[in-house]
Amino acid sequence: MLREQYDVVVIGAGPGGSVAARELAQKGWTVLLLEKRERIGYPVRCGEASTNLSDLESYGPIDEDCIETIINGIYIYGPNGVNIEVPKPGTGIMLNREKFDPMLAHLAENDGVELVTLARVDSVGGIEGKGSGEFRTVRIVEGNGPTEKVSEVRAKMVISAEGVEARIGRSLGIPCLQKPTMTCTGVDIQVEGLLTKPDYLTFWQGHDFINDGYIWSFPKQKSNVTNFGAGFLFGGKHQKNILETTQEWLDKLFPGSKVNKVVGGLVPVSSTLQSYTLDRFALVGDAAHHTNPLTGGGIAAAMRAGRYCANTVHQGLERGELSAAFLKTYEKECYKRFGKTHDFEFKFRKFLLHLNREEQVGLYKVLQGFALSGYKKTAFLKTPIQTAKYLAKFAKFKG
């Protein structure tokens, strides 16, 4: 039975929403977490590669079952056979999100969050009431079809971690629509066995493969399967859809692979939205385009944003101040912690995309040199002219 009023209503029980909800409940606020899917995290819409274990563990104890592989490096197949290897012990984790997403939601529940699944937020109203009594009305549809039940609750603050759909954010006027040149469409084909180096994330990128995106092979050791996937800009000049394209690359690179299942989805690659808070309302994660615009990784960013949002909202609730101006603190924190880097990576992605094959091969050679030297400054001295050329080109590049 829902209450009439909550301090905070969180929309979407993905990584961003569950973290935000939990951290606010831990501080003693009443929190309602609403997820429209019946099964949290199912179907998975992800390649499941994420940040390192200690980073993840800062959000709570991570069940062994959720961890598939400890990642010790990355390998990139670039154009013209220029490949880059970057060993980095413990740099990341392969997750099992079918288990990880529900686990995060249940951690939130254990800390006092009221979690309701099969509960779709239909609308969030404007500001009502006055002063410290201000609230937004959240309209919820529970269940499906003939058994559905509509109810309304009041929230002092609404946090929407609604993913790429972002219907609520858009209905309140935030420009979170996924645009053709700023969004990748992707699939992940789960294949039997381990196709590539079992503790490495492997990528194929550039003109010889997929230029406005990439191909990936991520090993899930515990399940003995590989997430083989790819993504590209959906507004690009592609004749075939991304599933057909990925299947072709799978047949070419690993003929005879046995496919278990296919999942897919959208990846925002625009870098963070200019602004994504309103009075008593904030977006978190994919809805705010917090996804890394170069790698497409969004799990860690959504969780970080969820935490920063919870911190700001906690302070705001204590002070009785949740105006858009106050919530800027949250946006600023995101910018400082990852947004700034994402803006740089966004520019780099567009730079890479605009280079012709020959220039791209040159750039890959420079990057290869850096990787071989372990990213020491002396690498610069090995190819000073080439490196300087690309640095200058990049600095001038307007996008």
């Binding site: 179907p43 819409r45 499906n144 759909e165 629509l177 469409t185 859809n241 599933l243």
Partner: protein, 64 residues
């Protein structure tokens, strides 16, 4: 007259199409895609955003 047709057999239930539709004509109820034909402008963006080609604009006699 064109109409947006959804192939449930192909659909991955990924909700991608919902995120690209400028007209807000699409929504997911749990895992069921809902198409609001009255809102759909037949712009075709969702047919490109869909990773598997489960959405197509098809010629029909009556598009309502």
């Amino acid at each position: 007259m064109k109409k947006l047709v959804h192939d449930r057999g192909k659909c991955l239930e990924c909700a991608g199409c919902v995120g690209v539709c400028p007209a807000m004509a699409l929504d997911m109820y749990n895992l069921d895609l809902q198409i609001d034909n009255a809102k759909c402008t037949r712009c075709g963006l969702c047919t490109k955003g869909c990773p598997v080609g489960a959405l197509t604009l098809q010629e029909v006699a009556d598009a309502t």
